[in-house]
């Protein structure tokens, strides 16, 4: 198995396209860093002695709006969260006067996960389909190794590639952030609001969770691309559908969710698990367990399809 992975890894990395992907990813981190650095004056908080009064004013303002009952349900949730966090700050003397630091930069860079996802999708879409296009599948499948094992090694190497890209992203963002923005003197905790209580979280752990949860979306779409690649043997189709769904799936699902109850069974309604950590879920009646079960169901369906078709296929072309 290890040797099969080695093979896939070699085939992935000996192609120029892969190197270009990594370079693009790094360049985009640099671009974000440059823009942020350029605008840093605008972002940095002036040394405000009166931050306490500011927060108190904000809370009063929010409370007034809530009492009037004119705000939309979405905003209610947001305001409640803000009030709770602001109170926590006042109580524990956690100042809002924080300079933009490496942590913030890493957090901003998490937007690039979808970029890394894009590349992973391209790899996933090609890893099976290309063998068919190149004709090399004929030599690959006449080795004393079962087809399921070959497909599994390909899937695992796609996942490894995805993890590798995200690690590169995280590591490079942290490095670049540390150089350009530095770390804050006192480590500022991230304040997490959940079910009416505010808890402190170390910044590093918070970021790791953010990256991890964002990766779930990536994992599901990558798995889908892999399935399409293996079922239809067409990498363009796999890339096209997956990227379309990756960018459109969320908004289409959101639109559907306002009208139809069944929208909660759509894959994209469940991929964003952060909705349960802070804020309200997309639809009423959805819970973390529900989403995880749905994700597992989709995951298993994708794999059953991919493996079944790949195992049974007559390699004729």
């Amino acid at each position: 198995m290890l040797q099969l992975l080695q093979n896939e890894w070699m085939k992935t990395w000996k192609r120029t396209a892969t190197h270009i992907m990594v370079v693009l990813l790094l360049l985009s981190v640099i671009a974000i860093a440059a823009i942020t650095k350029y605008q840093e004056n605008g972002l940095s908080v002036p040394d405000n002695e009166n931050w306490r009064q500011g927060l108190e004013m904000e809370n009063k303002d929010f409370q007034k709006q809530l009492d009037e009952g004119t705000v939309s349900p979405d905003s209610i949730e947001y305001m409640r969260t803000q009030i709770a966090i602001n109170e926590y700050r006042l109580e524990h003397d956690i100042s809002t006067n924080v300079d933009y630091s490496a942590w913030d930069f890493v957090s901003d860079s998490s937007e690039l996960i979808s970029f890394a996802g894009l590349f992973t999708i391209i790899i996933a879409a090609g890893i099976v389909a290309n063998e068919f296009t190149w004709g090399t599948v004929k030599l690959l499948l006449i080795r004393p190794i079962g087809r399921a094992k070959i497909l599994l090694s390909k899937y695992i190497s796609v996942l490894l590639f995805g993890v590798f890209l995200i690690l590169i992203l995280f590591g490079f963002a942290l490095l670049l952030g540390a150089i350009l923005f530095g770390f804050p003197d006192s480590s500022n905790p991230y304040l997490n609001y959940h079910d009416g209580t505010v808890t402190e979280q170390s910044m590093l752990i918070h970021l790791l969770i953010t990256y991890g949860l964002n990766s779930i979306n990536l994992l599901m779409i990558t798995t889908m691309a892999f399935m399409i690649s293996s079922v239809f043997r067409n990498s363009s189709l796999a890339v096209g559908i997956s990227i379309f769904l990756m960018f459109m799936g969320g908004s289409v699902t959101y639109m559907l969710s306002t009208k139809f109850e069944w929208a909660k069974y759509i894959l994209f309604a469940n991929t964003d698990l952060t909705q349960y950590l802070d804020g309200a879920p997309l639809m009423k009646g959805m819970t973390l367990t529900f989403s995880i079960v749905m994700l597992c169901v989709y995951f298993i369906i994708f794999h059953l399809l991919a493996f079944f078709v790949f195992k049974k296929r007559d390699v004729a072309a």
Binding site: K14, R15, T136
Partner: protein, 305 residues
């Protein structure tokens, strides 16, 4: 001699049409078996079934006693194959390609890779990317890839397709050597008859998915009676003279003389006759029937019956 590959009533249905119709034959150790048929007869389909790329609808194939259907991994470990063109990863070097396939089989050492590369004569270029290779070199790399794990059966689908005469000769010599020196069974498919004649010990003719005939190449080509072409003048007169003297012979005219099917011992007699009638003989030569003639004969016979 032991049978290395056994096909037993193998059939393949695609969309209700029988592509391959209960095919059965054996291939033995140390022999080169030619698989001959016109385009679309089912050669490639059969070969793909032997290596397990295509499932068969009925029957079974055994390689060294293991069923390719039920014990795929065990059966296929004895097989080295090139199916159609030797497609390799173009962006990898020849060596990386071999390493790639070596990792997929147990117990292929670095030394073995080197040995195989030397055998096919690619030592100088093995570190170059495959996209810079000529077709002949790719074919040789394909052969190297099949030989890595010392298979007992070598299966080559149209191995000489697109090669120049030198390349064809090279492949032929390799195959002969492998069968003779290493006792491998070799299965070659082709529609190039002249090729098969020089390469194979035995050939099976397939037509419309059915095995029409299996024969030794020797028997297949040579008949007891041979055809001689006699080059002479006054062809029409000579034709009637010979027909008169040797009735029952199928004498026919050719461009420069007569074609007469006789036994060797009858030739002096024939010459005496022609000389006595004052025909000028410019030459006598044997016209050996080619595989091609026989092939057309056989396929036509079976097609008509």
């Amino acid at each position: 001699m032991a049978s290395v590959v056994e096909l037993k009533n193998v059939s393949k249905m695609i969309k209700g049409r029988k592509i391959i119709d209960s095919l059965s034959f054996n291939v033995e150790e140390g022999e080169v078996f030619g698989f001959l048929g016109p385009n679309g007869a089912g050669k490639t389909t059969t070969i793909r079934m032997i290596v397990g790329l295509i499932n068969m609808s009925d029957g079974d194939i055994y390689i060294c006693g293991s069923s390719i259907k039920k014990e795929f991994e065990k059966a296929v470990q004895h097989v080295g194959a090139i199916v159609e063109n030797p497609e390799m990863y173009k962006f990898l070097s020849g060596y990386d390609n071999l390493v790639h396939y070596a990792r997929m089989t147990k117990g292929v050492s670095k030394a073995k890779i080197k040995e195989v590369v030397e055998l096919v004569g690619l030592t100088d270029r093995i570190q170059d990317k495959v996209k810079t290779y000529s077709l002949g070199m790719r074919q040789r790399l394909g052969l190297a890839q099949c030989l890595l794990h010392d298979p007992k059966v070598l299966i080559l689908d149209e191995p000489t397709n697109g090669l120049d005469p030198a390349g064809i000769r090279e492949i032929r010599d390799h195959l002969r050597m492998l069968a003779r020196d290493r006792g491998m069974a070799v299965i070659v498919s082709s529609h190039l008859l002249s090729e098969m004649e020089m390469m194979c010990d035995r050939i099976g003719i397939i037509q419309q998915g059915k095995l029409v005939d299996v024969q030794l190449v020797k028997d297949f080509v040579s008949n007891t009676e041979k055809l001689y072409e006699v080059e002479l003048d006054r062809i029409d007169e000579a034709l009637s003279a010979v027909s008169e003297y040797m009735p029952g012979l199928k004498v026919s005219k050719s461009a420069t003389g007569l074609e007469i099917p006789v036994k060797k011992e009858q030739i002096p007699e024939l010459v005496k006759l022609l000389v006595s009638k004052e025909f000028s003989i410019y030459g006598i030569r044997e016209v050996s029937k080619t595989l091609e003639d026989r092939f057309l004969e056989v396929t036509n016979e079976k097609g008509e019956s």
